[in-house]
Symmetry: C2
Subunit: 323 residues, 2 copies
Amino acid sequence: MTTKIALVGVGKIARDQHVPALSASPDFELVATASLEGAVEGVPGFQSLDALFAAHPEVTAVSICIPPVPRFEVAAQALRSGRHVMLEKPPGASVSECRELEAMAKQADLSIYATWHSREAAQVANARAWLRNKRLTSLTITWKEDVRRWHPGQTWIWKSGGLGVFDPGINALSILTEILPVPVHMRAATLFVPENCDTPIAADLTFAHPDGAAVSADFDFRQEGEQTWSMDIRTTEGDLVLSDGGARLAIDGETLASDAVLHETADEGGEDKAPLGGEYHRLYANFARLLASGETDMDLSPLLHVADAFMLGRRVSVEPFIE
Amino acid sequence: MTTKIALVGVGKIARDQHVPALSASPDFELVATASLEGAVEGVPGFQSLDALFAAHPEVTAVSICIPPVPRFEVAAQALRSGRHVMLEKPPGASVSECRELEAMAKQADLSIYATWHSREAAQVANARAWLRNKRLTSLTITWKEDVRRWHPGQTWIWKSGGLGVFDPGINALSILTEILPVPVHMRAATLFVPENCDTPIAADLTFAHPDGAAVSADFDFRQEGEQTWSMDIRTTEGDLVLSDGGARLAIDGETLASDAVLHETADEGGEDKAPLGGEYHRLYANFARLLASGETDMDLSPLLHVADAFMLGRRVSVEPFIE
């Protein structure tokens, strides 16, 4: 039996990822959308969630992919209306509002899922499995992309709460917190903020690791030419490079075959996640499992690292950003 | 039986508050201090925690009041050495490190206590009790003090991680999160940052409240003359003003007697907290109770609001700060 789901916010990420993943999903049927601007061909579109619920009371779950700042009100409205909620990353503009949503969902016996799509990249589970018993000496994140190419016209990214380079950077942090067997915390951060923006265009982060491993991240939105989303990981028992945002993995220089599975599939609930579809396919499969088991998945650790970077980071003003 | 305790960081807050509170405490005996600079007369002083523990193995608890940035390492060291930990506010420079400390303490079966001294101000429990069944319409925090008067020479406040005006402002947030029966979250923040500082000298905050009450805060470090630490609270059933940082309370214009108790003492574990000693006296009494029961108290909600303000706040540059 499929779950009738509505999509809120028909922007770039919805069109690129959510709609195709929902079309291919055996678990969900996209019944309607609510969006101030965009629409999905062949799917009834509404201007508000109220109007959507009035016309489609059969909708029992809502997937929200509007920008972070207005997200809370929509998620709260969906929960108050008795609908399960799936949240595009980041799950909110503030950590506190995410905790509120989680408490609201628990109280109403509804599922809420803070998704981190990069955790579902093909090789992340393998990286996690490989690292489990190794002693880390260093981990260097390089996350450099051209904002003009990947985020055209997304002006909200440059406004307060839009996170700037942390919008992609939080993907790296979601992988970091997934693959490391121990927690780390921000020790220092430098945020490079264009004179005409509220949010950083680049960031250098240094983390404290319990064993003293050197953990750092270099986020940059100004990267032209080759684009890099990689982690260079050194341990006392060999090195691992996770690249292409988690899609590609090499151990001691040898690239792992794309269908290789290093992790115990039993650990993942008996299902081999690696070869099935893309990141968003797996997110919706995860959401279906949460709905079936009545559970919630609201891991806020990537967002906490971002908040920590903003709280303890030093700001450096850089030249204005002109799209 | 008293707990033998060590104090780490003999600066202004230690001398003004911790040492007198420990001297008067029936629960603790101050055995030694560790501090790079200050010392307490008549108490053995050490340059490091290692040296202190070597000389005083009988110390079973450590109270830490060094600035937030170096705090984690010291707290982690104390926990690794099997000592219970009490933390001056804020409990750390990052939210993630506080969560790590909590996990470390739990794993080692030790108590950890993130203190919020303003929650122990004389009238906070009364304000909480009065608000419990009221419908809030507005809550306005005004926290304005002269940084030159209250924080002379505390240069760490102006450096990344030092929190600036949020160092006192977090006291207001600790009261807010204590007295409101429902959670709120940051909707918008404006941070006023001197050109020559990393941290804000003033902040305007707006919170979202579940019933739509107008909740806001005005923090300012530039207040000469009269100093204000107050909350103006309006409900559909009357108004409450909490002033003097929580020490004074008026309901509908009538000041409550300083020994009046609006709260059910049974709710507080059978002990009437209001008339006993000052804020730090009560913090140490709380810590003694946690040690006796083997519990932990690590409420990070005030720090989360600060992190949220930094993450989603808009920054405005203001004139340089000259001490």
